[in-house]
């Protein structure tokens, strides 16, 4: 083992890291391209106001995307996030209206509501070994129904919500929307934890090879349960932020969010079968999807194209992922063969 060989070993690391970074960088590039191309057609697109809109519009989906990433990484899926968001938003709004709770507790309660829903999901998935697709699908219905029952046709109006709460929805700090800042902080913190904490690395292990994870003694049930609780909690926080942003809520809040969130995560590089992907990627994916849809508006393309493009993007993202992983495997295999 010569020094030169060792040197080559350690350099070998950089291409791996490069590969991992590639996805996130690719998305940033795509966002940049979309922004630039659009602002050529419409110079208003690049104004401070418009950029702020981009950030706050994507913020909530990005936040939910972070939680969804944790779940996806373990080879599960959480389809109830939209309903949980709606429920939590309404509960918080209702409490503001009738109980006049302090502003900070609005956030806490939102998170708590979400965590409870997440815990139910997690419990059924881990203790009863029910596939998460089905559990969260069922929960989507149940939570939506419960939410509608509670809402009962009412609506919380802006006057019921304290200004300091809604301020979070539209105020900026140093030119950046508070919404985006809060979400960015969450992304950074969770991202750090996902990369550098033992228990979160186990999440990746579980999704990468569940049998090996069991053999290795990883407490799969506990970890997956936590992933669902976090996903629920972040959805709950999203609900509070949704309320702050829109300053009103009825029973349709959050409907349909789940698919956008999953799409954002997948576009952002989170593997649908688990084992890889980053929360930063998911957040960037949300930003990309929102940027594309805003770009369409700015380009005077009818908003009716939104869904079609989002769907197309998602399909391209997963096809690209597959192509990429095939290429990586092939190149690693041939590298093996040449050195064998």
């Amino acid at each position: 083992m010569t020094a030169g060989a060792i040197g080559r070993e350690i350099d070998g690391r950089s291409w791996l890291v490069g590969l991992l970074r590639a996805r996130e960088i690719g998305i940033v590039l795509l966002i940049a391209i979309v922004v630039i191309v659009t602002s050529v057609h419409n110079s208003h697109f690049l104004t401070a106001n418009s950029v702020q809109q981009l950030l706050s519009g994507a913020a909530i989906v990005a936040l939910l995307g972070v939680g969804e990433t944790l779940v996806l990484v373990t080879r599960n899926v959480d389809l109830s996030v939209g309903s949980v968001l709606g429920l939590s938003a309404y509960v918080v709004g209702d409490l503001f209206k009738h109980e006049h709770i302090p502003v900070w507790s609005g956030f806490v309660i939102g998170i708590a509501v979400g965590m409870v829903c997440g815990a139910v999901n997690g419990l059924i998935v881990t203790a009863l070994r029910v596939p998460s697709l089905v559990v969260t699908l069922g929960m989507l219905y149940v939570v939506r129904g419960v939410d509608s029952k509670i809402v009962n046709g009412n609506r919380i109006d802006p006057d019921a919500i304290p200004n300091s709460f809604t301020a979070v929805g539209y105020k900026n700090i140093l030119g950046v929307p508070w919404l985006a800042v809060i979400v960015a902080i969450v992304v950074v913190v969770v991202g750090f934890v996902m990369r550098s904490m033992r228990s979160s690395r186990e999440l990746y292990a579980i999704g990468s090879n569940p049998d090996a994870a069991a053999l290795a003694g990883i407490p799969i049930g506990r970890r997956v349960f936590s992933a669902f609780v976090v996903s629920g909690g972040l959805a709950g926080l999203g609900g509070a932020l949704f309320l702050a942003l829109h300053a009103q809520i009825d029973n349709s809040g959050g409907t349909g969010y789940e698919l956008t969130v999953v799409a954002a995560a997948v576009v952002g590089g989170v593997a649908i079968f688990g084992g890889s992907g980053s929360v930063v990627g998911a957040a960037l994916g949300a930003l990309l999807l929102n940027t594309v849809s805003q770009a369409l508006v700015a380009s005077r393309v009818s908003s009716f194209w939104n869904d079609a493009i989002a769907g197309g993007l998602l399909l391209c993202a997963i096809a690209f992922d597959r192509w990429l992983s095939l290429r990586v495997t092939r190149s690693l295999l041939s590298a093996e063969r040449s050195t064998a």
Partner: protein, 356 residues
Amino acid sequence: MTSDVVARPAPARSSGNGSSGNGVAHRLRSVLRWEAGLVVVLAAVLIYGSGESSTFLTGTTLFNLGYNVGYIAIMAMPMTFIVMTGEIDLSVASMLGLSGSMVGYLWHHGWGIWPAMLVAIVVGVVGGALNGFLVVRVGLPSIAVTIGSLTLYRGIAEILLGSQTIPAPNDRPFPTWFDNLGALGVAGSQLTWSTLFFLVFAVIFGVILHLTSLGRSLYAIGLQPEAAQFTGIRVARIKFWLYVASGVFCAFAGILLTAQNASVTYNAGTGLELNVVAMVLFGGVSIFGGRGTIPGVVLSIAIFATLQIALTDQNVDPNVQNIITGLLLLISVIVPNGGEALRRLRSRLRRPPRRR
């Protein structure tokens, strides 16, 4: 559907010399047990419904059943086959909407109803083929692909119709026979056309699944795709055509829905994919593939449909109905797994006897 972590049912333990018979006497019984359970539930719902309302067991109810659920039930048939092979198709409701939107769009532009319907079916073929191609040829996970196509197809529907309702104020109304297809029963009876079609399809699908080698192949593909391939079963081809079939049937359902409503908007049927999945899973079809029956799915559909009517008759909140749908779905997967979980809990509580 590749198993989610934690959710794979515990495999039958088999050491090199084979385990003691925990085999299929048990499994056969559990299959029949599920269908028998569904029959009981259906009977319970019927009793509940007729108990609360004297008009429950009448023809009108039958008509309403067909009206509310017939077109959804049609989509559940190919979905059953797809789930049995271990895949899923979440784009069904969007294809429903897209096909209806296509009919509306063409009608709006002066086309005849028959050509418009034909094109809608072709759209179903193309959409299904796209799904099939991505899942089978490219090898992408079906859940991700069909979430993408769900969004894509809905999006195309939106592009076609925008915010219009067809027939728009300036349009010709749909032909009377077309509207009657949805509004009236077959030959003046209380059996809707959608129910009739559904029953015919159910018989065909049932015969295929339970009596033909294609049906046996579906079970094999769901249980052990590699072994199926080694027996000469053309797994890829079958899966591809199942997706095409799903596209066609959903397109057909979309036409029926348009006829039923005598109008169409781009968001027709939004969210219904979940209903379809719930119906199929509650019918005893395993999300992992390889298990389930058509009679089970038919019973499940009957339960959902009659429950909906019974609850609506009682003026029960549609939201509560949502909750119930969700709970039924959860029950349909918890019950089979619950037994396992209980067993595991029991064995963990009972310490193994001390060795000498």
